[in-house]
């Protein structure tokens, strides 16, 4: 049960690119993905910037082969999951036990919203095809079926930590010899439901978000999907390009403080990070980079920052919130940011925390403001925290072949 779990491939679609390569170029060139709404139709379109994927549903449908009437959440998911599998280059996938663990916060809600407009006027109206894939699991199955994966399929929804938990479970399924290969991560499309939900909480920034800034005002919502392909040691040995990155640590803890807000001392975040270190057998000083949850809300950043201070003082790793590029992609962020963390390991780069002007006065450290290249990066910690106090941390490590 202590055999390593290798990362064989990654796939991403987000506001900064439709593939891993496009996302990497945007990260290196400090190109953020926020802007005025183009695809989502909302009453708030003039006021609230969002980080949309730059393809419409028809284009996504063409790219994936799914019908364009399907939920955008499924379309995004399939783009990234396909890329991850292709990237892994596993030739004999049919001979292996393969799993698909996806995560999403609202599943096919983008279609349900359309359905409800008609349905509320007359409950015999509304196109049923718009509501059949409402369930989170339906979105996962559309993608699993398109990928031809059926050995183990499930869906996790723990708000903004969802896809970190999906990757976590994927690794455990491999360690327990239930599957050989697992595609794990998450997806979410922008919906009016979530945009309005976060808006009622008064934590949506009307400008581009500024995580870990003293004058931060809130988050920008984003959309996208991110997956990793995890393989067992045995499977890794059969691959042409033998993977050299492992998922070395993970932990899931709960803040148990408030339904939406983090505790002032970030106890859940602290437990998740320290638990992941323990699982990986690492010391805080071993971590070279933290991909922060860093949403840009007053509450998250001070709680996360306080927990980091408690755990890492006085030697702080480099850190940044890549939500400054992608916005907060909710059920997808753990998957997208896991893939970014892997890019940091592969390329020896630290991506900057954009728009950071005034560091938070309460914190003794400052996230990176400029791209750093040629950095020795061996261990990366990726944080994903969510509503309901759900806190999960993952650690990816580079190993010698």
């Amino acid at each position: 049960m202590n055999a390593p779990v290798f990362v064989a491939g990654t796939g991403i679609i987000s506001a900064i690119g439709n593939s891993v390569a496009e996302c990497l170029a945007a990260l290196e060139n400090e190109r953020a993905g926020m802007g005025q709404m183009q695809n989502l139709k909302s009453a708030h379109s003039q006021r609230l910037p969002v980080a949309e994927v730059k393809l419409n549903n028809e284009e996504l449908a063409q790219l994936t082969g799914l019908p364009k009437i399907k939920s955008r959440t499924a379309l995004l998911s399939l783009v990234a999951a396909k890329e991850a599998l292709a990237n892994a280059g596993i030739e004999n996938i049919k001979d292996l036990r393969t799993g698909f663990i996806s995560a999403t916060s609202v599943g096919g809600m983008d279609k349900t919203e359309n359905f409800f407009t008609e349905f509320l006027k007359d409950n015999s109206k509304g196109k049923l095809r718009d509501v059949v894939d409402h369930e989170c699991g339906s979105v996962t199955e559309l993608v699993a079926d398109a990928l031809g994966i059926k050995d183990y399929i499930t869906t996790i929804s723990t708000a903004c930590s969802s896809s970190a938990n999906a990757i976590f479970l994927g690794a455990r399924l491999i360690k327990n010899d239930i599957v050989d290969v697992v595609v794990a991560g998450g997806t979410d499309s922008l919906t009016r439901f979530t945009l309005n939900g976060f808006n009622t909480l008064m934590i949506v920034d009307e400008q581009f978000c500024q995580p870990f800034d003293e004058n931060r005002r809130g988050l920008n919502l984003g959309e996208g999907a991110g997956y990793v392909v995890l393989v067992s040691e045995k499977t890794a040995a059969t691959l042409k390009n033998k993977p050299n990155i492992v998922l070395s640590g993970y932990c899931n803890a709960n803040d148990a403080y408030h339904q939406t807000a983090s505790s002032p001392d970030g106890i859940g975040s602290y437990l998740a990070m320290s638990g992941a270190l323990k699982k990986a057998g690492l010391q805080p000083s071993d971590i070279d980079y933290i991909n922060l949850h860093g949403t840009g809300t007053q509450n998250n950043d001070i709680a996360e920052g306080t927990a980091i201070k408690r755990l890492f003082e006085p030697h702080y790793p480099k850190m940044s919130s890549t939500k400054t590029y992608t916005g907060h992609t909710l059920g997808a962020c753990g998957g997208i940011e896991a893939a970014f963390s892997i890019l940091a390991l592969q390329h020896g780069e630290i991506f900057p925390n954009l728009r950071l002007q005034t560091p938070m006065v309460e914190l003794p450290f400052v996230p990176e403001r400029k791209l750093e290249k040629n950095v020795e990066v061996k261990h990366v910690l990726s944080n994903s925290f969510g509503f309901g106090g759900n806190c999960s941390s993952l650690i990816f490590s580079k190993v010698e072949n």
Binding site: F119, L128, G137, T154, N252, A256, Y257, Q259, F387
Partner: protein, 349 residues
């Protein structure tokens, strides 16, 4: 591993650990949970924000923990296919009606799929592992597998696992339009006699305390769990059942009782009818969905029935079973919409 305690709110009188004697009859295609007085289980300050499904889930979890005499479990794992539908419906309806203005946060906050597990964690001040599975007819089984793995990995010595799903007026209307429910006169007690298309809607909240170590109050041993997705044909279903038993070194002769997930729908019940002539031939099979209705996490109700049957050695009186043979080993086979199939094996401690 062991099932140490349970808590179950269902359309039957299952809450409060009373013997299950008389079946509650329903006319029409919708069964509704019999809800307890929540004040004993939930702080009134918290209850005011909770919709029905959250109350049911939290109360069933609390009853389970009380029975296990555990204040803070090592992990909390929930499964729900639909999540908190009433809150989702409420926020969505107002959003459409008021054109995205004048919305309040409570329904949105409570609509997330991890709400029930999170509320339980919050009430218990439990900082431990907390996860939520939302995969249609696999939601409960996924949560159960997560719990089993946590115990195997020695990352927990006890895990609270539960499944919760509700029917709301809206979901009932929509699923009815999708053609899943029976039309016209129907009683739950006669649902298997109808031989027509469709089933009856159900709901429930069932929680289990899984423990690595035995204790005097255990219900049953949880020996195995297996799920399979979209089998090609009945032969594959049979193959899966046989190889599942083989993996656990159990022969069909060892099984005293099989709970099968028949729901009265002539089309999807054919799988069970076919199995009755092959792998389940001459075995005592018991149906349970006349009691709880059909819903994606209904297998949790079957696991509760299996647990109490093993604990007493007999089927509850509600089944009018003629057999006096002691029940030691139980297999549960359930499928949801012929897509999600699950096998669970339990035995006496």
């Amino acid at each position: 591993m062991y099932i140490r305690a349970t808590g179950n709110i269902s359309p039957q009188k299952t809450f409060g650990h009373q013997p299950l004697v008389d079946a509650v009859a329903y006319t029409g295609n919708r069964l509704a949970c019999i809800e307890p007085d929540y004040k004993e289980f939930i702080d009134p300050k918290l209850i005011r924000r909770m919709s029905r499904i959250i109350r049911m889930g939290v109360a069933a979890a609390m009853e389970c923990l009380q029975e296990a005499d555990i204040k803070v479990p090592d992990a909390i794992v929930t499964g729900t296919a639909y999540g908190c539908l009433e809150d989702t419906n409420s926020f969505l309806s107002k959003m459409v009606e008021f054109n995205e203005e004048l919305l309040t946060p409570t329904a949105f906050i409570q609509s997330t799929h991890n709400t029930i597990g999170a509320q339980i964690g919050l009430m218990l001040q439990c900082n431990n592992y907390n996860n939520a599975f939302v995969h249609r007819g696999f939601s409960f089984e996924s949560a159960l597998l997560d719990g089993i793995l946590l115990l195997k990995e020695n990352d927990a010595s006890n895990v609270l696992v539960g499944a919760i799903d509700e029917i709301t007026n809206t979901s009932h209307t929509i699923i009815n339009r999708l053609g899943l429910y029976k039309q016209g006169e129907v009683s739950n007690l006669d649902v298997y006699k109808t031989k027509t298309k469709g089933t009856i809607a159900g709901e429930g909240a069932a929680f289990f305390l899984l423990a690595a170590e035995p204790s005097a109050t255990n219900y049953a041993k949880l020996d195995g769990l297996h799920t399979f997705y979209k089998p090609d044909n009945i032969a594959e279903v049979e193959k899966q059942i046989v190889s599942f038993l083989n993996r656990h070194s159990v022969s069909m002769n060892d099984i005293d009782l099989i709970f099968t997930g028949k729901n009265g729908d002539a089309v999807s019940d054919k799988i069970y009818d076919d199995l009755a002539e092959t792998v389940f031939e001459n075995k005592e099979t018991v149906n349970y969905k006349h009691l709880c209705g059909e819903y994606p996490t209904a297998a949790s109700f079957a696991m509760w029935l299996a647990a109490i049957s093993i604990k007493t050695g007999q089927l509850p009186a509600i089944f009018d079973s003629a057999s006096n043979k002691k029940i030691n080993k139980v297999l549960i086979y359930n499928h949801y919409l012929s897509i999600h199939h699950s096998l669970t094996l339990l035995s006496a401690c």
